[in-house]
Structures are given as C-alpha cells and as structure tokens.
Symmetry: D2
Subunit: 330 residues, 4 copies
Amino acid sequence: MALYNVRTDLALEAREIATQGRETTEIPGVWSETDSADGITVTRMEIKTEEAAQQIGKIIGHYVTLEVPELRNGDTTLQDKVATSFAKEFEAFLTRIGVNEKSSVLIVGLGNWNVTPDALGPIVVENIMVTRHYFELMPDQVSPGYRPVSAVAPGVLGTTGIESSDIVFGIVESSKPDLIIAIDALAAKSLERVNTTIQIADTGIHPGSGIGNKRKGLTKDVLGVPCIAIGVPTVVYASTVVNNTMDMVFEHMKKHTANTEPLFGVFGQMDETERLQLVKEVLNPLGHDLLVTPKEIDKFMEDIANVIASGLNAALHEAVDKNNVAAYTH
Amino acid sequence: MALYNVRTDLALEAREIATQGRETTEIPGVWSETDSADGITVTRMEIKTEEAAQQIGKIIGHYVTLEVPELRNGDTTLQDKVATSFAKEFEAFLTRIGVNEKSSVLIVGLGNWNVTPDALGPIVVENIMVTRHYFELMPDQVSPGYRPVSAVAPGVLGTTGIESSDIVFGIVESSKPDLIIAIDALAAKSLERVNTTIQIADTGIHPGSGIGNKRKGLTKDVLGVPCIAIGVPTVVYASTVVNNTMDMVFEHMKKHTANTEPLFGVFGQMDETERLQLVKEVLNPLGHDLLVTPKEIDKFMEDIANVIASGLNAALHEAVDKNNVAAYTH
Amino acid sequence: MALYNVRTDLALEAREIATQGRETTEIPGVWSETDSADGITVTRMEIKTEEAAQQIGKIIGHYVTLEVPELRNGDTTLQDKVATSFAKEFEAFLTRIGVNEKSSVLIVGLGNWNVTPDALGPIVVENIMVTRHYFELMPDQVSPGYRPVSAVAPGVLGTTGIESSDIVFGIVESSKPDLIIAIDALAAKSLERVNTTIQIADTGIHPGSGIGNKRKGLTKDVLGVPCIAIGVPTVVYASTVVNNTMDMVFEHMKKHTANTEPLFGVFGQMDETERLQLVKEVLNPLGHDLLVTPKEIDKFMEDIANVIASGLNAALHEAVDKNNVAAYTH
Amino acid sequence: MALYNVRTDLALEAREIATQGRETTEIPGVWSETDSADGITVTRMEIKTEEAAQQIGKIIGHYVTLEVPELRNGDTTLQDKVATSFAKEFEAFLTRIGVNEKSSVLIVGLGNWNVTPDALGPIVVENIMVTRHYFELMPDQVSPGYRPVSAVAPGVLGTTGIESSDIVFGIVESSKPDLIIAIDALAAKSLERVNTTIQIADTGIHPGSGIGNKRKGLTKDVLGVPCIAIGVPTVVYASTVVNNTMDMVFEHMKKHTANTEPLFGVFGQMDETERLQLVKEVLNPLGHDLLVTPKEIDKFMEDIANVIASGLNAALHEAVDKNNVAAYTH
C-alpha cells in the first residue's frame, strides 16, 4: 500500500497518515483515548483487528504515545514529570501482560553506540539499575521491593557481524528472563517529534523498524517471552521533512484563499503519496534523501534516555520512589 | 536584501543564489576558475569590488572551495587525495598573505566540543602537530622544515561566558603569532554539501557566520594579524532543505512538461525568496525550523576533521611529506 | 632540602613530612585547626612566616584541606555533604580575599582532557554554572543573587604549544575578572588520599605543582588579580607508594617487638629520605617510577569533579540553594 | 600454595615466582624457548604436566608472551612490528588448534567500557574487521582470503546483571562459531609489564582471572568450542608493587655489600610470601591495597588495543597484507 511510502515507526503518525483527508482519525477496530496535562499528551491506542492493522500498517497490539513538545528545552522539572508519567503508563503494560512484581526482566538497548541518533538503547542501558546478579549471588540479602533486572546492548549487525535478534535470543536462552523490554531509536514523519515523543508498545520490535533496519524482530514468537518495545523518534528522512512541510504550506495557503487549484496547479492536486514519490525521485539520484537529525542531538539523546531509564527504574522496582525518579539514575 | 534569507556560509552558494534565474553565474568584480580531478572540484574565486561583495553578500577576498561529493563514503584513499589537494590550495594562501616558512601560526578551533556538528574546530585542533613549545624551550634542537604552530579550542559563549573572539584576542596578545587559522563549522543551503565541501577564505571569521552565531569576528582588524578561515558545512536549516528541494522538484517537472503555470499555480510563480519566506512562516511558529544534520554525523566529522588536520600539517611544515599526509595525524 | 624528595602537592602532607619523627606536628609560624564531622575532616592551616614556609616547603598562605576517606564509595549523600562543606570553606576564602558578591570570577580548569587523572580541571569547568555572558548581553535581566562567572579549560603545553599561564593571562587581560579560581589535579604522598582529599589555597598555582608540571604559575603576581587554587590528588609516584608503605610496615613491626635494629638492619636505620633515594635508584633506571592512579579513576574523577562544581556553584551565587547543591550540576 | 599470594595473570611471571631463589627457571614438565629481535622478546612456553601446572599455578597449555619494554613510548613503527609479530605467533595457535582458513571466529572483548584499564576487550572489538554478516547475507560475493569473523563486547556482571560467560555461551549457541578468541585486561606482578606485555594462551579464560574477577570461565568445556585467550596486564596491586620493589632494593643492596643479615634484619630474611603477607596486613585495613595503573593509561590502552586488533585482522584473514597491518584498523 502506497501509504507506507511515508516512513514512520510511530503508530500515532501511521494512523494520521491512514486517515489523512478524512474528517475523523477514527478507524473501525482501533480504540484510543487521549489525556493532556502538564505539557504531556498521552494517547493510548489499541489496534484490535487485522483489518485495522492493515489499514494503519502497524500490527495488532497496544500503543501508548507520550508527546511532550517542550521536552527538548532541557527543563529538568518537566523531564521528571515525563519520567513519572512514563512509569505510570509502563506499569499498565506490566499489569496487562501479567508479569508480577517478582518476574525477571531483561532490558535490551538496540542500536549503535557510535552513531549518536542511534544510541538511545545503549544510553538507556547505561542508566538502568541492574539487580539480577544480586538475586543470583545472594538472594537472601536483596531488600524487598526489587525484582531481577538485567540489561544488555547487543550492538548492530555492521559492528558485530551477528543479527542483534540472534544475540538477544542467545542471551534469553542462557539467562531466562520472564519479560524483554527492547529500546530502540525510531524514524518519524515530522521533525517536531524528534526527541519529544516516546512510544510504548506490547508488540515487540519488528523487522525493518528502527533506525538500524533490523532484518529479524524481537517478538514473543522469536524469543519465547513477551517483549515490550520502547521507542523514540530521533531521525526523519529529508524527503519526509519536505513533504510534510509542503502539506503544512498548502494548509496554510488554503486558509487564506478560496481555491487551491490555481494556487498549486497539478502539484497541489497530487495526493501525499504521489508527491512524496516525486520528492524522492528528485532527491534519491543525488544521494540527498538522508536521514537527518537536529543539530543538538547529543544533548537531546542524553535527556530523553535519562527520562526513560528513570521511568523504567521506577516502574520495575516498587522500592523506587515514584516521586523522585531521577535520584536513581546518573 | 531578501537574498540573505537563504542562509549559507559558503561564498560559492551565495553566488549561485545571487545569480539564480540568470543565464550565467558571472558577476562583474568576481573572478573565478574551476578545476576538477579525482572526484575533487576546486573553485578559486576572488570577490574584488565592494559592489560584487554587496551582490553576493560576502566580503571582498579570496575564497577557495573544494567539493568532494563522495567524501562521506569513508574511502581513505580519497580522503588522502583531498588532504593533499587542500594542502596545495592552502599553501597558495600562505604565499599570497606573505607569511614565510618560519612565521608562527596559531590555529583556532571554534565551536562546541559537546555538539557533534559544531565540533569541527575542536576535533581538528586535537589532530594538529603542535610545535611552538619546542621553539620556545629548545630552539636549537628543532629540526629544519618546521615552523612554530600552536592550537587552541576557545569554546563557545554559552559554556565559557566569554566571546570566543575575546579569548582568542587575549591568546594572540600573549603568544604573538604571525598568522591565525580559524576553523569553524558552517551552515549550507543544501544537504549534499554537508561534510563534502571545504571552504578556505582569507577574510577571517565574520560575526553571525558559522553554527554558533558569533557576535564578534576574528579578522585582521580585530586581532592585528591576518586570519585565514577554514569552514565545512555541517548543518542545514530545515526550511532551506525544503525550499531547495522544491526548486529541484520544479526543475524536474519543467523538464517533462511545456508550461509551468498550471503545474504549480501561484506557488510556482513565487521567487525563491518569497517561497522560503512562506516555508519559514509555516515552520517557525511550530519550532520546526531546526538546523539539521545527517544521522551519520559522528563519523563524517571525524573523517573531514582528519582531512583538514592532515592537510594543515602538510601545508604548514615543509618537513611533512606531502605524499603521505595521513601519517602525521592519528 | 632533601625532604622535597617526597613529592606532594598537599600542604598537609608536606607538614607531616617536615615533622616526621617529632612528637608534634606543630611548627612555629604555622597556625592550624581541625574539625571532624559526618566523615569529613577539615583542616584549616595558615603558613605565616617565611621560615615556616621554608620548613614545610610550601609558600605563605591559607590552606584548607577536606579529607573524606569514604569519598570513593560513590555515596551521593556523602558527596552532597562534602559539596556543602566545601562551599562553606570556600566562602571563607572569598570573604578573606575581600571580593564582594558582585565581583566577577574566572574559573580555570587546568590539565589535559585526554589524560583521565589530569582531567579534573576540564571536568569541573564542564559543570560550572556560567553566567558572565548574561551580565554582558542583558545586564538588566539577570536575577539577583548571581555574579558574573566565566570558565575556561586552557589545555596543556604539550597539546596547545602555549604555556597555560600565558593563555590564562591573555584571557584575564581581555575579560577582566576580579578573581581567578584555578582547579588542578595534584600528586600526593599516599594512595589513600587519591580522590578523597580536596585542598583550597589562596596561594594560586605555582610552577612545578600539579600533574602537568607547569613551568609558570598562576598567581596574583603573574595575573594581576588574586588566584585561589583548588586541588585534588589523583596520582602518586610508585616510589612514594613503596616508601610510604615501608614506613607503615616498620611502624607495624615495631609495635610487636622491642628492638628495631635487628628487625630491619641498616635499611631500617635509614631516614625516609635516604630510603626514598634508594627506592628511586632502583626504580628509575627501569623506567618503573611511574605516576600511578587507582584502576577506578574514571568514576572517581567524575564524582569529585561534581562535588567541586556543585560546591563552587553554591559558594559563588547567593541564589543557589546551599541545601541542594547537586541540583545545579549535571 | 602460598605463592599464589602474588597475584599475576601472566604464566611467565608465575613461573618466575615459582622458581624464585633457584638457580634456574626450568621446571620439569615445562618446555619453553625465547626469541628476541627489534625490541620484542617472544617467549613460547608449554605447560605439559599436571605437576608442572600445580607448581606454576597455571593450567596445562601453550602460552606465548610478547614483551616490548618500549611499547609505551607511542612509536608507531614499533607498534606495527609488534602487530606483525603478534599475528605470526597467533597464526601458530590457529594451526595448532586445527581451525582452517574458512573456520568462523567469534571475538569476545571482555571488560568494562567505562573503566579505562578494564576496557581492553571492548576497544579491540571496536577495531576488528567484522565479516560474518557478509557471509550470511551474500555468501557468493565475499572475496577470497576472508573468513567469517564476528565480535561482541558482552559487558561485565556489575553493569549487565548477567555473567559474561553466560552471555557468550548464549551468543555461541545462536551464532555457532568454530573458535572463540577472548580478550581481557590482566593484573601483573610488576608495573613495567603494564601495557608492554601481551599473552596468548590456548587455555581460554579461567574463573578469577583478569581485572573483573570472573566467576565462570570461557573454556572449551564451558562453550563447546576452543577458546584462545589474549591478555594484556593493565593493573598491578599496590602491595605487589611494594613487594616487588623491595626485592629489587634487596638485590641492589646485596650487590654492594657482603652480608644481607645486618642490612635488613628479620625483614630481609622473610621469604617473598611472608613479606607480601606483611605488606598486605598493613595496607588492607586502610583500604590502601588498590589496583593501580599508570597515569597515561588512556593512551596506552588505545595503542595496545590497536596493536592487537591489527594483528588479529592480519592473522585471521589471508587477504590482509601482513606488511601493512595498521591499514585495516582505525
């Protein structure tokens, strides 16, 4: 389906694209609700039928998206609020999946350490409170309120020579966790989502998703245990930026005039997919259709990785103070 | 003048913009010549009159641009060729300015260590062969073929609290170099130039140029000694990407049809400046008009910084083997 | 004087060495007092006479030392206490020197970024709250309770080609601060001091001190403004470790037997200086007399640099909450 | 046996200790030969009997040690020679084990990225030419002269929560290599060996060895495929430095006098083990018996990791030019 031309790993954007031009974003077989408070918009969405999944281009499952337009401003108070909100949403996933407060968890930080916008997973892993070894080595001495948590960054195919899913499968086999949490950097449709949006999904990681273009996924089918995926868009295709902006320009101009046709001619009458195709045709031969990221990506990555690590530490361990999430990360 | 809306720190692009829609890129008062070999295009340009300077929006002086479209491929053989070509062009600047083979040089790496696309200067400085202290401490023992070279990375206003030009002025006062070479990351008009283009100019660094938006310049007037500027575009404004791509789309469509008007309507009839203005109007309120950089920026920065450092080491010291430039950097 | 064979940059250790074998550490012309609380021992010492200075091998001035044996344990609560205690001691220096709450301060982080145990200064500078530019650019809008603070890391002679004192002198000339605070990594006599001790002194930095062996100092004489030095021992000479341990072994054995002579023979009768000389004679030809540092130095540096940066931020700005020092650093 | 008090991971040092005070370092059941050229001393040793293994405290197997006292000087010509020599010795291991030129290899970089002296393995892995994925994805297009090589850095127990041997076991199970090469940082007895010595052994990695004190090993028994261990000492215990130096001091003094007893008394008559015990008794309660490393460890690690990576790239792939080993690493 041509819609998939617009590359996005976010279910929220995929639904937007699927309902573009319609009067409503509602799709039969998709349930959703949205809450907004403190500059954080939480959208909980469930794709319930195969038909809806086809239409949106994302598989059946629960998707929660936190949108925080101001998250790039470096405001630590806001960051703490997002971490707390993230922890609350994440706990709902744990409950729904049915893991209990003693279930062991393996956190997998996908992506490449040496490519800043792809390093989300490895940076989160660096900041996770790891406890599994205490349970293994001195189980009697672990304080109540903690569960066994382990964390690995398996690297990427280009630097290890092994599919990351194969590495994770091996580690799952030898360390036997009850649940996998996989963290990955994503591609979005619009620049303003980059490092301002967090998606949680109980679908695991699917082939082709994320920056690194995995060939195999991390799903319950593959790993034998459930896998919750956490993703943050950190890059956008240049062609998508162009196309997305053109849409906004057209909308902007339409508001100020009566008739679109003379305004944009043939070009304005193309649907989004045709136009994107055209933009790609122009950019690709020149090697211009790069994945781009904001200039300040280093700082943005550090901030959002800390939010996620703080949120996970709070959600996974009852003993961690939900009101002081940041105290457990560095 | 509206043209300056299109932000570029490259004289080559500024001339392109100034002559857009004309049959020729020639401008009275501007001399230029272009050589191409081995995948490297060298354009030597002189802006000779105040009138030409006004028209292009860059000040009077010599500008040499090396364009190497394949430079992002990580090919070390090509990198060495570019370093050698850069060294040759740079030596012509030394000759023209009239510094001799014993003149002392201070290399200034502008920009912020912690912002990858702004770290060009600091990374080059890390790889420069520094020799001034040998001349100070044991002048009799320095082998022939070397000159006194020092190198500093003065940081940026936001992290030091002091204008980098004030820091450099202080260091110039106390260390008395004969020549400054200032290295800075730039903004370009098109994504394909990012980390594929190097500009050398004898104009020094001017206020407002570069990523960091300096408030004061590094020029002979300010510092009392000549200043050669070396720059590499590492970022592009999202609005510029959009606009630049629209141009290409229009060109592309025009080639395949007879009449442009019905194709694009009013929008197609706007000149580039108006269109850019419109794109900015749409993006700015949303905070979308970010400076963006390619996803692989970490690796690109390392590669091009090495090219420049190798080239400078070869150009500054006669004793450095011009055919094995890379051996002197790490 | 042979005593200086034992290399230490700490006045406290220098006094210990000068009074070794005596019944008291008191020296005419030296005032001192010691407070202990919360695992932090603060020794305030003043070397008042030239004679005392000669005897100790440190120049006339005030020296405050914070000793925190548990500081390497990574306990963030203790780190915050040390930062608060440091801030209090530091404020006394500001008062004594006579700078007021509006006086501008330049913080100088000496040392080499790329040599972990020498990177104290640069890491502290990274975490300093810099405010000078706000006073320059929008003086009317700066909240009360702040002063102009700037911060630079001038690098080391081997990588810049310029004496760091010359760089600092230039920056002082062009930015005109009222006070310099210079931060440097030091050598100590004993391994247990490494990254557990902080020294503040109103003497500035003297030639030959610190890891990097400066050839010129940072003092009021050189710079024209007062200079407070903050130092942390991060390395020890192997020969000093050996000699220091031998002392402890001898003390230990003496406690358990009546007569020292047959225990150690001629070797036991040597004074510390002779023995150190002998150890050096053995180690030096083999190139074994290295400066060594604990294996965990990366983490230790980060922790103590944060303590100092937090303490400085609190001491320099009245508006910074002294009870929550860590909130202002990252 | 008390000898093991002297902590060393090097078979060469273990043999020295086992034969201390004897006229010869020969031990029945141990074969060895030594070659010296170009500042590189290669000792090939085989521990052939269980009895010899007991005596030395290292298990049966082949050990090759490269000693290069000048390796810390940063001389790139010497580094290339060492890489070539290392490659040659390593190839002999491949031949002896019986893997052929098509056998697949998994390189495991043990140790902690964030602790510089423990980061040997991860840094080597960063510089390894990884090829396994080309064989998996496009087997027909791989040039002759290469074999499938993969490389992972499994992290350490304290940061992953999983024993590194369990992680490696899982990866071996899922990626099925024919041979493991495990790289680890070691502890040595003497400071001069730190980052000047490389050990290759066909024994795999044993519990308790290396800086990180593994609880489980990486051996053929555990992994099901042969494991060659490559190690470099990067740390020494402070107590070992002291004891080792005391030995040298005693030897030095003996050379200049007739009788040792009055020189050192009871202390001089202790055997090395007793003396080390005494030194430990003195240092331990104070927490002084740290593992120490030279101040310049950052640079030393980078240099020796490059030597090993270059050597491995050359040894593993026939197509890699043995005379230009460095060209394949960065």
